[in-house]
Symmetry: C3
Subunit: 106 residues, 3 copies
């Protein structure tokens, strides 16, 4: 059993959207779990200016082979035209990795 998983992180405009998309992706086994975080305040470049808006970050945990499919589906479901969806590899103990794989069928 591998000792790595993929963490996938993005932000949504509000909690309801974040939870609905997170639930759909977990139910469809693209991810083992999703942590829908407390709202944050995002400051960002937008059309030659600086915008500031509330957003809701979400951290997904999935099996590495599912990364591209999770990110593709998340992009399709995301309300932004260009969602910033970043992912990076993390290590974890074999029982946790086994749970991620069992949860996603990977």
């Amino acid at each position: 059993m591998s000792d790595t998983m993929m963490l996938v992180h993005t932000t949504f405009p509000d909690a309801a959207t974040a939870k609905a998309v997170a639930r759909e992706l977990v139910e469809a086994r693209f991810a083992a779990c999703a942590n829908v975080m407390a709202p944050c305040q995002s400051i960002y470049h937008w059309q030659d200016g600086i915008a500031e808006d509330p957003e809701v970050p979400v951290l997904f945990k999935t099996a590495i082979p599912l990364t591209d499919r999770l990110c593709a589906r998340l992009t399709a479901l995301h309300p932004y035209d260009v969602p910033v969806i970043e992912h990076w590899i993390a290590h974890a103990a074999p029982p946790a990795i086994a749970w991620v794989h069992a949860s996603t069928g990977a």
Copy 2:
């Protein structure tokens, strides 16, 4: 002096448990610090279904040589049978790394 540290991230069922475990691990010098985050809402696979529960994420920062000991002790203290404890390497400036090593005695 190295320019890398280990970030260790997990979630707890509630803030009191998160803080108690975080404090014990920092006091025992397994980690230099712990950020006990605002509560999140977790959506996850559980016994052939989808569960949704409040959780509290915690981000620990430690010296790389202490990673396995931190994760082992965190697993022992964690109330879940199979806690998902993920870790990844991050870079930081030498003074910050020196503080992490001095705080943990690594």
Copy 3:
């Protein structure tokens, strides 16, 4: 176009300071965006003891070539003598990376 960006994470003593520094760094194009998170509770080593204080985490997203400049400017603006500013590489889809580069002029 690259498929990687840099995530830069640190904590501030309060939301006002976090937002002011985040806005200055985004306006100066050191970062494409900054997520000023909900307050957390930090437990950490401080002068031979353990301290616990509220803090505000911020996650910056920038182009990899700007990492050192962002971290140097962030260190200069940060109110702590030794801020812990950690960064790690993340992957993202080309449109998101293009937005990060366009926003920072990298």
